[in-house]
């Protein structure tokens, strides 16, 4: 279930990407910071820019592809307006995160790596947010929330969806 968002790079996206590539030329180990800059800016790393990147950084397209797929953080498709990460690691498990996960999935009507029908929230698993003193924890965009239950997460979702 969930909505599938189409990759459509606008001209302004392409301009942004170009300027990031330009800015990272000559930086040692540039690939990682470059991909972060791209994803921060347009939300994902479009596969169609691999040739450009590989040329600028003197890598093969296969190397760029291998790099992107190796790291969980990078994604090659757009996500919803907000990203909700649910911690699945041990400390949160000790505080009932498994039940929380299934409740959140049921409430949103989606599984991990899917986006709600209204395009608002993409659900991702995460392995520790460093908030283990207050498990279970979730992260909405860049903010962590501790000692949450399904209701708290639902409130959070409606808060960002309306905001």
């Amino acid at each position: 279930m969930g909505i599938s968002l189409v990759n459509k790079l606008s001209d302004s996206d392409l301009k942004k990407i170009e300027s990031h590539i330009f800015a990272h030329q000559g930086v040692p180990g540039a690939l990682m910071p470059l991909l972060h800059a791209v994803q921060d800016d347009i939300g994902y790393v479009p596969e169609e820019i691999y040739p450009q990147i590989s040329q600028a950084l003197a890598l093969s397209v296969a190397e760029v592809h291998g790099f992107v797929t190796f790291y969980h953080h990078f994604r090659t498709h757009p996500v919803g307006k907000h990203v909700l990460q649910v911690c699945r690691a041990e400390s949160c498990q000790a505080m009932g995160s498994e039940k929380l996960e299934s409740e959140i999935k049921a409430k949103l009507g989606i599984d991990y790596h899917q986006t709600t029908m209204d395009g608002e929230v993409t659900l991702l698993p995460v392995y520790c947010l460093g908030n283990c003193a207050c498990s279970p924890a979730v992260m909405m965009d860049d903010e962590v929330y501790g000692r949450v239950d399904a209701q708290a997460v639902a409130d959070l979702v409606s808060e960002v969806s309306n905001g």
Partner: protein, 526 residues
């Protein structure tokens, strides 16, 4: 009249419990009442079960009110909390709270007290004293001080930090690097995050001292992508250090250069392994390298490189400030100094507890932790992250000490302790250990790549009861192969949680423990 200073933490965990809303409410209420306050966003003291903890500076010292929700704020003003007034949430002097008072905070001396991004505050609380001393010493003497302090890598491997530095110092090379491993991915750990968010200058100072000691002019902090607040705070602190000449081409007028940059990781657990981390920093997939060569000889971009964890580097300033002996006087056996321990999981009073090595698990879990959060008995703890062993109640009197843990076939790792109550299914936790390994394996070596997936399958068979005895044996054999055949700790240590769970909690694996327990114990590891 001077404005009253009110402190509300900006640490992620405090924020995760609503510290921002509390701060906004206090500011608004003060304005409404026409009272001028100075609101300081300090780090967290690490007493996380009491966050958001608000402090007020008084003649007698800082007084804590906790936990403070927006709804409590008006009442606090009514109770004259700005002068330390009585209130149900008044905990008295912060420094006298037993949880804090009984700690031995060396690495975390400033954490929670200062404004993390104020260089003035850092300097006013003994900041940069270590660097000042280091700049008056020879490189050899700095390295010797680190060696003599007995400091061992706090990231998990526990390798003596001074010996690493000495190798890099002795290595020839125009360019050398200091790399800080801030890819803190272990469940149950957050001490790196706290240092970076709550006292970033101490890490910057530690890395600068390292650079000067071994002759490295460039440092990188490889920071996990799950820590956006740490990223911003570090960058802000680095900019201030550069502006004040604590970083740059001529550190404090010494003629020595040291530059520092934060690089974000991208969510690969294996990049916490130092050679994989270096690959990643070079812009490659984080595949583990064969050793030798050691990173100290051929590290980042093939150059001599010190790779140290956040806590190790953040401990350097106090060693150089107070002397090697001061630090070495804490601890037991070959575990010198203190360990910032993190209480997590099903624990009533979760938080950061820095103590000299030697404190027992039981003291940590009950005297500090207050037992489980659920109120049920604590059945197991996992120490040292997802690759750490599970310990049963019968081992809770073990002291926190690298060698004592090794004797039990357990590890201290990064000092994270995750508690589980008696509702835990340990066979499920063993299965999860394999699952985690299969998700995070870099794929370079077969025992880890294939073993993890096979492990999940075997656990499913064991749980279904099919060919039970045979599959328990398969589980042991598989663990043995991973333990001995994997290239790095990810595959090589996944058997720790698995086999410790099997040995100590056999009943969850469908074993008849009364008969099997002795057998298992005799068999030991695998």
């Amino acid at each position: 009249m001077a404005k009253v200073k009110v402190f509300v933490p900006r640490d992620s965990t405090a924020l995760s419990l609503g510290a921002n809303r509390t701060a906004v409410a206090i500011q608004a209420e003060a304005e409404k009442r026409g009272i001028d306050i100075e609101l300081i966003r300090n780090g967290s003291r690490g007493v996380f079960w009491l966050e958001p903890m608000v402090e007020v500076e008084t003649d007698k010292g800082r007084i804590a009110y906790a936990p403070v929700k927006p709804i409590d704020v008006a009442g606090l003003f009514d109770a004259d909390f700005l002068n330390g007034g009585e209130h149900a949430l008044n905990l008295g002097l912060t420094a006298e709270i037993p949880y804090l008072k009984n700690q031995q905070r060396l690495t975390f001396a400033r954490v929670g007290i200062t404004d993390p991004v104020s260089l003035e505050d850092y300097l006013a609380h003994d900041g940069y004293k270590g660097l000042t001393n280091a700049l008056a010493m020879t490189q050899e003497d700095i390295v010797k001080a680190v060696t003599d302090s007995g400091l061992r890598g706090r990231g998990g491997a526990a390798f003596p930090t001074g010996i690493k530095w000495n190798t890099v110092l002795g290595a020839k090379g125009e360019q050398k690097y200091i790399v800080c491993n801030a890819d803190e991915g272990d469940s149950g750990t957050y001490s790196d995050r706290m240092v970076m968010e709550d006292d970033p200058f101490v890490l910057i100072e530690g890395m600068t001292i390292a650079g000067i000691a071994v002759g490295a002019t460039q440092g990188y902090i490889y920071l996990r992508s799950e820590y956006p607040h740490a990223l911003h705070i570090l960058n802000e602190a680095i900019a201030k250090a550069v502006a004040a000449n604590y970083l740059g081409d001529d550190v404090c007028g010494s003629g020595q250069a040291f530059h520092l940059e934060v690089r974000r990781a991208a969510g690969a657990y294996v990049c916490g392994e130092e050679t994989s981390l270096l690959e990643s920093l070079e812009g490659k997939r984080g595949l583990v390298r064969f050793k030798p060569p050691l990173p100290a000889i051929e590290g980042l971009f093939g150059k001599p490189t010190v790779v140290n964890n956040v806590i190790s580097l953040a401990t350097i300033p106090i060693i150089l400030d107070k002397g090697a002996q001061y630090y070495a006087d804490y601890g037991m056996g070959r575990s010198r100094g203190t360990l910032p321990i993190q209480l997590a999981g099903n624990i009533k009073q979760g938080g950061l507890v820095e103590l000299a090595f030697g404190v027992t698990l039981r003291e940590l879990l009950y005297d500090y932790g207050g037992g489980s959060a659920s109120g049920r008995p604590i059945r197991a703890v996992q120490v040292g992250g997802p690759l750490g062993a599970y310990l049963p109640e019968s081992q809770f009197d073990t002291p926190v000490d690298y060698e004592s843990f090794a004797k039990l076939w357990a590890v201290l790792g990064h000092g994270g302790i995750v508690a589980f109550d008696d509702t835990v299914d340990m066979a499920k936790m063993a299965r999860y250990a394999f699952e985690f390994c299969s998700i995070e394996s870099c794929g370079k070596c077969t025992p880890c790549r294939i073993g993890a997936t096979r492990g999940v399958e075997v656990m499913d068979k064991i749980k279904s009861g099919k060919d039970h005895a045979k599959n328990i044996q398969v589980l042991r054999d598989l663990s043995d192969t991973m333990l001995n055949g994997s290239l790095c700790a990810l595959g090589g240590m996944t058997p720790y949680p698995v086999i410790s769970a099997l040995n100590h909690f056999g009943e969850d694996f469908g074993l008849n423990v009364s008969i099997d327990k002795k057998l298992n114990e005799k068999e030991g590891v695998a």
